[in-house]
Subunit: 333 residues, 2 copies
């Protein structure tokens, strides 16, 4: 029979052992939704190489920066970017305050339910819709609007919350990298303030590790209280050549691993791959028409053309969603 | 005599106890250079309040954001901002490549050693000096230039490296906050890329937690390799009303504690103090002419006038360097 002090010691040792075990977590525990094969091996080899102390390609924890595109890399982007679905919903909500929209494009077509009629005006039309729905309120107000929307809005084809339309293998990859001392960042063409209200809960990525496109804000006072007002003026486009610029601005050092799915990510992957030492540049290829969508070179959303050619030429890792992933979404069986 | 397995258990328990002890670190261990009194008490009371689980003002770790001004708050800013000393040194180094500077102000006066003659052109002159010395190279090149400079340049009055001219009590405060789960950020009017090469080593603040003023950069290729080129074009001024804007852009949530020393920090302190729950807004007052410098309302560098009035009116914490700090610099006895 154990004496009391022995019980205490055993309990303390068990607690400590469990604490250690939870921090020493390796690939086998993490990448459960990845099929074995060259893609998973490329990821695990890279992580083991840069985390092995004394190895020639060892990277100190502070430099283990990994950047992830969002639309099409961490969550679905078909049949339209989620942020555009948000903007269209907001146009409907705000319409009663804007009687002039009934006769002004692109709003008139939208309000008649004719999205295709509204968007041929292309970038200009989208710009107007974004500014009409994303500016004119305080940052705190916009944060709440986004939180309310993502907690209720459903994907038109699956009926799932948009925040459920995330890729299970990528969630595991984020966790795996963090368990190995990486700091994970989002670097997206999407709006920075559209992502921040939910990325911590959904991806474990806090607001300060989200980089994205932005409009300008202005410090002001409302009824004696300081506020930041969102202005209808572009500040920064975090896409294509903007991604390395956004990385430099927000992170201030070059990632050693970067993850994307489209030509919008090409320069981020180039910038990452061009650093010295071990590097991981990875592209998610949407080639699973059954479980998700299949699209690449000719798709207007998530075009993967030049970045794919460069991936092949440079030996970047290309994920086949069809062959490399056991599951796509967390709700898949 | 202990048996072997007992030895192992005791060793394990000791190791664990030490690991716990090192994370459970309180004020007594940290704020050694702070005199006891109402200022130190205000800091410790705030930290204990927001970290005590179950307390009404408890703040989860992810929201424990603390922002620090740099010039005059973490390191000395007299007799001139360190970044200006850097720029003046760079003008001398670059002069042989710019024969036209011999006859163009503000460079001509500078090269004759007449700083006061160069700077009456004021903001315009400083702007030209900054652009001539901070732009036109890649981000990697500039990083190296700054690293080389801070490793050799000496303060004109103390003969110390500029990175030694940091405030020992503030280093302890940074550590104390981090030991209590805070994420510490710099939010400075100084150049973001002038600070990032050394803040991790000097303050324990990594590049991605530095917010500052910036010029634009452009993604380009030099000899087949991707580079980011620094352009002679302003991007953002992180001062006064710009500080809450910079915080929103880089951090994406409101700090619960903010630390400054001048009118340039007033809006950051307002923005921080206006949040709900416990808040700490603190101003360092330079009132020690013997051990450092004494200056406030009338000083052109580090003007402390309106922010001081607001501090008194709003009950913010004001540090007297003379009375609250046992030591100023790490090299002080």
């Amino acid at each position: 029979m154990m004496r009391n002090y022995q019980r205490v010691i055993v309990a303390a040792v068990l607690a400590c052992a469990m604490a250690f075990a939870s921090t020493v977590a390796f690939a086998a525990d993490h990448l459960l939704s990845w099929n074995d094969g060259p893609t998973k091996k490329a990821i695990v080899d890279f992580v083991e190489k840069v985390t092995r102390e004394g190895a020639p390609e060892f990277v100190p924890v502070s430099e283990r920066i990994a950047t992830f595109d969002n639309d099409g890399t961490l969550w679905a982007e078909q049949p339209m970017y989620t942020q555009l679905a948000f903007a269209l919903d907001r146009v409907k909500v705000l319409a009663p305050q804007h009687p002039e929209w009934k006769t002004t494009e692109p709003f008139a077509s939208l309000l008649k339910g004719d999205v295709k009629g509204a968007l041929p005006s292309g970038e200009k039309g989208i710009f107007e819709i974004i500014m009409a729905t994303h500016a004119g309120m305080t940052t705190d107000e916009f944060d709440q609007i986004v939180k309310d929307w993502v907690s209720t809005a459903k994907h038109p084809q699956t009926g799932r919350l948009y925040t459920e339309m995330v890729y299970q293998p990528m969630l595991e990859l984020l966790e795996y990298l963090r368990a190995n001392g990486f700091k994970t960042f989002i670097v997206s063409g999407g709006g920075i303030d559209f992502m921040r209200p939910w990325t911590e809960k959904v991806y474990g990525i806090p607001p300060e590790q989200v980089v994205g496109s932005s409009i300008k804000t202005q410090y002001d006072e409302h009824g004696g209280a300081p506020v930041l007002v969102r202005l209808p003026e572009l500040n920064f486009i975090d896409d294509k050549t903007g991604k390395p610029v956004g990385i430099q601005s927000h992170i201030g050092r070059r990632p050693i691993a970067a993850f994307g799915n489209s030509d919008g990510d090409q320069q981020m992957l180039e910038w990452t791959a061009a650093g010295t030492g071990a590097r991981l540049a990875l592209i998610v290829h949407h080639d699973d028409a059954t479980r998700e969508w299949a699209y690449d070179r000719k798709s207007p959303i998530g075009t993967l053309d030049k970045a794919w050619d460069e991936a092949v030429a440079e030996g970047w890792t290309v994920v086949s969603m069809k062959n490399d992933w056991k599951r796509i979404f967390p709700f898949d069986k």
